[in-house]
Amino acid sequence: MTPDRSHDSPRGTPPAEALAPPVETVRKIASLARLDLAGDEEETLARHFGHILEHFRVLASLDVSGVEAMLGASRVSDVTRADQPVPSLPAEAMLANAPAHTPEFYVVPKTVGGEG
């Protein structure tokens, strides 16, 4: 999904609804995350979300202007290997754990012509 930079003010506060997301928001996020929640789960999760995000709101109180984001702890960069083909695991081994497969391919429900 495309990041929206509109909230990146130096002392930006999370949007008000972020702290108590309604069930509809949880449903939308669940859809993005490909989770098919049951009705009572949506309500429980909305309640937990509110509680968790209330606790996390403290992040908004810090002045982070001019601070560079720390994407990770690794101090290694530009790691490359020789541009030579190397053997990979055989397809048979990779397919062995799939719930449905042919000798060469994973099998999934038909997608062409239906929903995307």
Partner: protein, 522 residues
């Protein structure tokens, strides 16, 4: 002659090389103890008896033929169930990976095997390493050997208890926000998270990729050093892994004295929520370090209070991405849903993931989604930088930093299960070290008494980036100066009287099928 469970890995290897016992005897005795204790504590999800015995015979033969023994020759080890070993079920404590048998072996597992270690089984864990108590395992909780009504901590719960209960001298866990240090503290053993990048993550099932680090448990610091020397080093399959010679154990002469060492004590690591007993034990340990010659220096890590929200935003964001791959196509059971592709994805994930994993996937999806990304995820990455700067500033004044590993001793199973924030706060003292990517070890420093039970307390020792050997040196000095790490949990009620290894092995209950999960008993 000492029993296998009374020896650390170094002592066990020496015993085998002296001819006091064969590798075969060692493994038989190990499984006899597993059979006796595991039903009460639920340490293993599967055990690898036949595979281990076959390997033991090979190693005995190699020794007889004069081959040079490896650094972990004949040592039984346990792996957390998120570590890949070809053909052995690696289910991450989750229904969604039930039956998954990886087609390859993790780099760090192969290094253990090449050094002569014998993998005896895969241990229980909070689902996908998300949890601090083992209660998020789809296969039921692991119990603390000091009090089976309490949690051993998590998420590397089974590996911690495997070592604490004397089932193996060394076990591997993974530490993302404290998942090795916290259970080590709650079980009274050593748990060491190396510098991020010290050990390859290839073959470790990903949770939070910028935080995950393979980390050993042991009952002695020399075993941690030995294990780290085997595990560490560059790997072409993990580009975050640095190309540096493995950490070599320091010479024994360096260990007894801490003269000249500056130890920082951050006031933020002794917050009001800290249990009184934990505070007292940690202060006593710091006083002991001072007696050993260290200079104690007050320091400040001013952004400590921001570590939990920062960690849970960053880790859940990474988890929501990493766990997108579990969709019923490539591994695990599939649920058909409404018969469409999207319906199959959603139904599989709904049926396969437990409540905490769903909560974290949703939280991670939320903080990454349009409209919220910069307010939450982008901001957390900047606060992460501030937390790392805190450490850099402190390490200009001191050589290591110490504080409690966990704000409390082991809590009762069920006590925090309905309150996610209370559970997240268990990680308040370990997540800053994880976010900064620096090394940290939890050291046993005594006990508190609760409900008539002795419960272990751990002290965390953290050092600058790549200062793994220094952190272990301080741990070793404390270990040599105290007896805390020698205490064993009161397993008398669940362990039968000691007899010869062969007799015990012969009397053991029928083992579960090789490599099959033993989950779902709770």
């Amino acid at each position: 002659m000492s029993a296998v469970h009374e020896l650390d890995a170094t002592g066990l290897r020496n015993s085998i090389l002296k001819g006091e016992r064969s590798v075969r005897d060692t493994i038989q005795e190990t499984f006899a103890r597993i059979d006796a204790i595991d039903p009460a504590l639920h340490v293993f999800l599967n055990t690898l008896r036949k595979r281990a015995m076959a390997r033991a015979n090979e190693l005995d033969q190699s020794l007889a033929q004069g081959e040079r023994p490896g650094a972990l020759f004949g040592v039984p080890v346990a792996l957390k169930a998120n570590m890949c070993l070809t053909g052995v079920e690696t289910n991450c404590g989750s229904r969604i990976l039930a039956g998954y048998r990886p087609p390859y072996t993790a780099t760090f597992v192969q290094r253990l095997i090449d050094a002569g270690a014998i993998v005896v089984g895969m241990t229980n864990m909070d689902e996908f390493a998300m949890g601090s108590s083992s209660e998020n395992s789809a296969f039921g909780p692991t119990r603390n050997p000091w009090d089976p009504a309490r949690t051993p901590g998590g998420s590397s719960s089974g590996s911690a208890v495997a070592v604490a209960a004397g089932l193996v001298p060394i076990a591997l866990g993974s530490d993302t926000g404290g998942s090795v240090r916290q259970p080590a503290a709650l079980c009274g053993i050593f748990g060491f998270k190396p510098t991020y990048g010290r050990v390859s993550r290839y073959g470790l099932v990903a949770f939070g990729s910028s935080l995950d680090q393979v980390s050993p448990f042991a009952r002695s610091v020399r075993d941690l050093e030995l294990t780290l020397s085997v595990l560490s080093g560059a790997d072409e399959n993990d580009p975050t892994c640095f190309d540096e010679a493995p950490v070599a154990p320091e010479s024994p002469a360096d260990r007894a004295s801490l003269s000249g060492l500056r130890i920082g004590v951050p006031k933020e690591y002794f917050p009001d929520v800290l249990s009184g007993g934990v505070r007292e034990r940690c202060e006593a340990a710091i006083a002991r370090l001072e007696e050993l010659g260290a200079q104690i220096v007050p320091v400040s890590l001013p952004h400590t209070d921001y570590a939990i929200p920062t960690y849970y935003v960053v880790a859940t964001a990474e988890a929501s991405s990493n766990l997108a791959r579990y969709d019923g196509v490539r591994y695990g059971p599939r649920a058909d849903g409404d018969g469409t592709l999207q319906g199959m994805f959603a139904a599989t994930r709904e049926a396969g993931f437990g409540p905490e994993v769903k909560r974290r996937i949703l939280l991670g999806t939320y903080v990454l989604s349009a409209g919220y990304y910069d307010a939450w995820y982008g901001r957390a990455l900047k606060v992460r930088a501030l937390l790392a700067r805190d450490f850099e500033a402190a390490f200009e004044k001191v050589d290591v930093i110490v504080g409690p590993t966990s704000p409390t001793a082991a809590f009762k199973l069920g006590e925090k299960v309905d309150d996610p924030v209370a559970m997240y706060l268990c990680d308040i003292l370990t997540t800053p070290v994880s976010l900064a990517g620096i090394p940290g070890v939890s050291v046993p420093v005594g006990f508190v008494e609760e409900g008539g039970r002795k419960l272990p307390v751990g002290l965390q020792i953290a050092g600058p980036f790549k200062a793994d050997a220094r952190v272990l040196r301080v741990a070793r000095a404390h270990e040599l100066a105290t007896e805390w790490s020698k205490a064993a949990p009161p397993l008398g009620t669940i362990v039968p009287p000691r007899t010869s290894a062969g007799a015990r092995a012969g009397k053991s209950e029928k083992p579960p099928p090789e490599g099959a999960t033993r989950g779902g008993r709770e």
